[in-house]
């Protein structure tokens, strides 16, 4: 199962961080992320953060969506 959920970082310790997942606070392992900051969003799977959720650069997707109206 590869479900992962987004969580907002509210405190950072060494190997761990406290995150808020839909309002519920949990401690997760952040050993595979660098420079985690309070306020960042991370993607969490089975108790650890697999990646950060960045502001999406969607220019290419937006160009594709715009082109749909032209079909």
């Amino acid at each position: 199962m590869c479900i992962a959920v987004p969580g907002r970082v509210i405190a950072v310790y060494q190997e761990k961080a406290r995150v808020s997942i839909w309002g519920i606070e949990e401690e997760i392992n952040i050993i595979f992320l660098e420079d985690v900051k309070v306020g960042e969003w991370v993607l969490i799977h089975t108790g650890y953060a697999i990646g950060k959720i960045e502001e999406q650069s969607a220019k290419e997707a937006q160009a594709f969506l715009k082109s749909l109206g032209e079909h």
């Binding site: 199962m1 590869c2 992320l33 650890y48 697999i50 960045e54 969506l65 109206g69």
Partner: protein
């Protein structure tokens, strides 16, 4: 685009839905590799907007579904030994092959981190973690093993049924009639975009790395149709806010430190070289190697369960003679009906256009 909010304006979403539903052909078979995608697509009702010229088939991306009976029999033998405490994720226990085991010896976990506490709590027992997962989960398992070694937790063993996505996708690309891939979004967070692009290039099969929200899946399906129409054997990344070109390097390094690749046995597929993980020499003390006997029982004893063909996209759940009859989520005959991300369970849950109250 903000988390928790819809990603597309209504007008744009309508255009995307129109584009998908009006695709006129040629006929394309798209493999949704990951069970989580199968579930999301059904939950959002997206199968109802697909044109007759587009077919979605399930893939091998559900680790419990693709663990063959030979391995399950091996796991059961460890469960029967009173010297052992068995640690596992929940789905394993619902499999028909696991019925009748002594549940007092079993600890269900959410995170592999829990193995360390359990092993420390039972120093006189062999604590065996049944590791059945793909690369989304494997990095943490590698870290747990490394931590166990540092803590000298020698009673912790890992029955190492970890599987690798890329070799099995290469196998599927060679063997099955697939015109496009919905690549697994969270495996791609770990492995990166480039490695999936290479599959598309090598086999001439377009692919899209997709997220799991409704709008993300709609855009992914539309992009996939566009790639097929344009004949572009490449991959686009529609989950770009979490999937990078190279993936999570720290996680990959952790896996490389602890694991080596080896042949693995897959339900319905057989042996695939380099498609599993075993442990490197420095960590061999912690490893239990799955029994490698291929008993030819990719199907159950009745010989009718089609899970092995469902996971390679050859058959739909509804084509199995057991599905919905003797095989339901309450009485599963095969792995694909057991787990919430199994194609058969998802098809049952959403059959006849609505949620089925009998299911999980």
């Amino acid at each position: 685009m903000r988390l928790g909010e819809e990603l597309l304006e209504d007008a744009t979403r309508s255009k995307v839905i129109d584009y998908i539903s009006h695709y006129e052909g040629p006929k394309i078979r798209i493999m949704e590799v990951c069970g989580s995608h199968t579930k999301a697509i059904s939950e959002y009702g997206l199968t109802q907007i697909l044109p007759p010229t587009m077919e979605l088939v399930s893939g091998p991306g559900c680790p419990i579904c693709v663990t063959p009976d030979a391995y399950l029999i091996d796991i059961r033998s460890y469960c029967q030994d009173e010297k052992n405490i068995i640690v596992c994720f929940g789905d394993l226990l619902r499999l028909p092959q696991m019925q009748g085991i002594n549940r007092k010896r079993v600890r269900m976990i959410y995170s592999s981190l829990e193995c360390l506490k359990i092993a420390a709590a039972y120093p006189d027992k062999q604590v065996i973690f049944i590791a059945i997962a793909f690369e989304t989960t494997a990095p943490l398992i590698a870290w747990v093993i490394k931590k166990a070694k540092a803590l000298n937790l020698l009673n912790l063993k890992v029955w190492c049924g970890l599987k690798r996505m890329i070799p099995v996708l290469n196998w599927i690309s060679n063997q099955e009639n697939i015109q496009g891939y919905l690549y697994p979004g969270h495996v791609a967070v770990i492995l990166g975009e480039k490695i999936f692009t290479q599959i598309s290039i090598d086999y001439g099969i377009p692919g899209v790395i997709a997220g799991f929200k409704m709008d993300e899946l709609l855009v992914a399906l539309a992009r996939l149709i566009a790639l097929c129409v344009e004949g572009k054997a490449t991959c686009t990344n529609e989950y770009g806010n979490v999937v990078s070109s190279e993936g999570n390097i720290l996680a990959q390094n952790q896996m490389r430190e602890v694991f080596e690749t080896r042949e693995s046995l897959w339900r319905g597929i057989g042996k695939v070289p380099f498609s599993g993980y075993g442990m490197k020499e420095a960590y061999k003390n912690f490893e239990i190697i799955p029994s490698n006997e291929e008993t030819g029982d990719s199907y159950n004893k009745m010989g009718l369960c089609l899970c092995g063909l469902v996971v390679r996209g050859r058959k739909k759940p509804q084509e199995c003679p057991l599905w919905g009859e003797s095989c339901t989520p309450m009485h599963p005959q095969g792995a694909c009906m057991v787990t919430v991300e199994g194609a058969c369970a998802i098809a049952y849950h959403f059959k006849e256009g609505g949620k089925n109250e009998e299911s999980y």
